[in-house]
């Protein structure tokens, strides 16, 4: 997909995310807006995952370890044809399959996530199975930055390097915020790139809200033969809406009607 189209998709997805959260009455607004450009580029420019090849193992795989940014995934899956867009109206309602974390009941969701620090091990298992079976499948895993305090991520990081899983790419949505505030005020993540390098990963860093930069990096995986790839995607939490950007308070705040209208006006200007 061309860069202009990707930019347009991101704006449309942001509108859908905000509408979804407003209508469903709950969601992780800041994180979904921060990572949606990554999910956009993966589905529209990088990964071979479609409703048509979904039942096959000869395709790529996507695991969203930061399951709470589920709205971003739902709106992209709807756009990709996995879901009817009208189903987005059922979000968080009684009996819906569109709940606040991804489950395999939703077409296009690979794995149930929500508890943090789970996705990377599962992604490593998927990547290892593909290697063993000589499938060309690639596995992409989206991690939050706050999530990296979970020690299980580092267990998985060692295994991925030990098995030389260069068909595995993890992308860290490095928005530097988590529910309490700045990640640096909660735990010592830095030097983050060095940590992944030391764990045997090939690390690149990019602007995680720049679709062209993201596409350029992700087209280049694996970053090194015989190593898993780590893309440190520097993002802005709440990206695209001035009063949500960089505000930890918007971690899971729901916009009011007026705030939604204001956000839509800002996104209109960007398109």
């Amino acid at each position: 997909m061309m860069q202009d189209e990707l930019v347009g998709k991101s704006i449309a997805y942001r509108r859908d995310i905000l509408t979804y959260i407003y209508e469903s009455g709950g969601g992780h607004t800041g994180g979904s807006l921060s990572c949606v450009d990554i999910i956009n580029v993966l589905y529209n420019s990088i990964m071979d995952i479609t409703p048509q090849n979904w039942e096959s193992l000869d395709r790529d795989f996507y695991i969203q370890s930061k399951g709470h940014s589920v709205e971003a995934l739902y709106v992209v899956l709807a756009d990709q044809g996995f879901l009817d867009r009208s189903e987005l109206k059922t979000g968080n309602k009684f009996g819906t399959r569109l709940i606040g974390h991804p489950t395999r009941k939703v077409p296009g969701v690979e794995h149930n996530t929500g508890g943090l620090g789970h996705g990377l091990s599962v992604a490593a298992g998927l990547a290892l199975a593909a290697k063993l079976d000589r499938r060309a499948s690639r596995v992409f895993c989206l991690l939050g930055d706050g999530e990296l305090a979970e020690g299980s991520n580092w267990e998985a990081a060692m295994t991925a390097a030990y098995y030389k899983l260069d068909n595995l790419t993890a992308i860290v949505d490095r928005n530097r915020l988590q529910i309490t505030g700045h990640t640096a005020d909660v735990n010592k993540l830095e030097p983050l790139a060095d940590k992944w390098t030391a764990f045997g990963w090939a690390v690149h860093e990019t602007d995680g809200n720049d679709v062209a930069a993201l596409a350029g990096e992700l087209r280049g995986v694996p970053f090194a033969a015989g190593k898993p790839s780590l893309l440190l995607a520097n993002t802005v939490k709440g990206k695209g809406v001035s009063f949500i950007e960089g505000e930890a308070a918007w971690h899971h705040k729901v916009p009011t009607r007026e705030q939604l209208a204001q956000a839509m006006r800002e996104l209109e200007v960007q398109s």
Binding site: L57, G125, A129, D133, M158
Partner: protein
């Protein structure tokens, strides 16, 4: 429990078998030879799992994740999602709770049919102490949806349970997560008839006065108790309730409804295991024989070998016979 042969009068005679752990390793190799998709995932546990020779003969079938049980189960779930038939092996104590959240989210909730094998379960590790004992696995796993919880009694049940869990799926491909736990000491071969099926308890000794409902490696101790009681004129049935979840409620009601006293036996905490499960079923059904659970009490476990610990808590021929006699006398 040393010596090659142990014959017990009154049960047609039974002989000493191997450790269930060894039978597990043999069965894994048998299944791996038949199924190219089978993988065993270990957390530095191939030696403890008696899988070292298997790993030497079929190295491509063993995935090693190091001492990292959370990763063990997550990677196992991913391999299963990638089309592999996966057996994850770790000491029961660590597997059941160090990786409990991975079992819950990545295997059960995500419906990835991994076979989780808890080795050296209960107090098998004896004097290594409570860090290594799994007296909490039934309780933890019973509360999780979409998992079958199994404790085979002898070599035959172990072989059948591993085969049932990890044979290639049928044409419909339907299978579900299973947790199987067993110990590492040799156990006697018990009488067995009929097919093995998860969720179907086995009456291994009939009796009209009383019934023992036992699971895992307490079953043979229970059978000896029943034989001792027989010499005293008490006819006690023994059920191997190898599947703790889903419980064979029908068999339980039938057996318990036909006797005056029921004793449930398990190498597990007295909280949340087979005993509690049986009590609920019987109370809800209005079946009310005299009832006791013989399990490990809620205290710092005494120190010693597995046999010494079980003997201390009355999970022994004499202890169980005494408990049953007391129940029958006290009615």
């Amino acid at each position: 429990m040393s010596g090659a042969t142990m014959r017990v009068p009154g049960a047609g005679g039974w002989t000493m078998g191997k450790a269930n752990l060894e039978v597990f390793a043999e069965t894994v190799e048998e299944l791996a030879r038949a199924d190219p998709a089978l993988l065993v995932v270990t957390s530095d546990s191939r030696g403890s799992g008696k899988l070292s020779s298997f790993a030497t003969r079929m190295p491509e079938r063993v995935i090693e994740v190091g001492i990292a049980e959370q990763n063990l189960v997550g990677v196992a779930a991913g391999l299963a999602a990638g089309g592999r038939n996966v057996i994850a092996v770790s000491p029961a104590s660590f597997l059941a709770t160090r990786s409990l959240e991975q079992i819950k989210h990545d295997v059960c909730y995500s419906d990835r049919p991994v076979t989780l094998v808890g080795i050296s379960a209960g107090v098998s590790y004896g004097a290594l102490g409570s860090t290594h004992h799994s007296l909490h696995d039934f309780a933890a796993l019973r509360a999780i949806h979409n998992i079958t919880v199994v404790a085979p009694a002898d070599n035959w049940e172990t072989r059948e349970a591993i085969r049932a869990a990890a044979s290639p799926p049928g044409p419909k491909g339907l299978r579900s997560p299973v947790y199987i736990r067993f110990g590492k000491q040799p156990v006697p071969d018990l009488p067995h008839t009929g097919p093995f099926a998860f969720g179907k308890g086995r009456i291994i000794r009939a009796g009209k006065d009383a019934a023992f409902i036992a699971t895992g490696e307490t079953v043979w101790r229970t059978l000896r108790a029943a034989e001792a009681l027989s010499a005293r004129g008490v006819s006690a049935a023994v059920v191997s309730m190898h599947t703790v979840k889903p419980l064979d409620e029908t068999l339980l009601r039938e057996v318990a409804g036909a006797v005056r006293a029921v004793v449930v036996v398990e190498e597990h905490s007295e909280h949340g295991g087979l005993g509690d499960a049986c009590a609920r079923v019987l109370m809800e059904a209005g079946v009310s024989p005299s009832f006791r659970v013989v399990a490990l009490p809620d205290e710092y476990t005494v120190t010693g070998s597995q046999t010494e610990i079980l003997d201390h808590y009355g999970i022994s021929e004499s202890g169980l016979a005494e408990t049953m006699t007391g129940l029958l006398v006290g009615e």
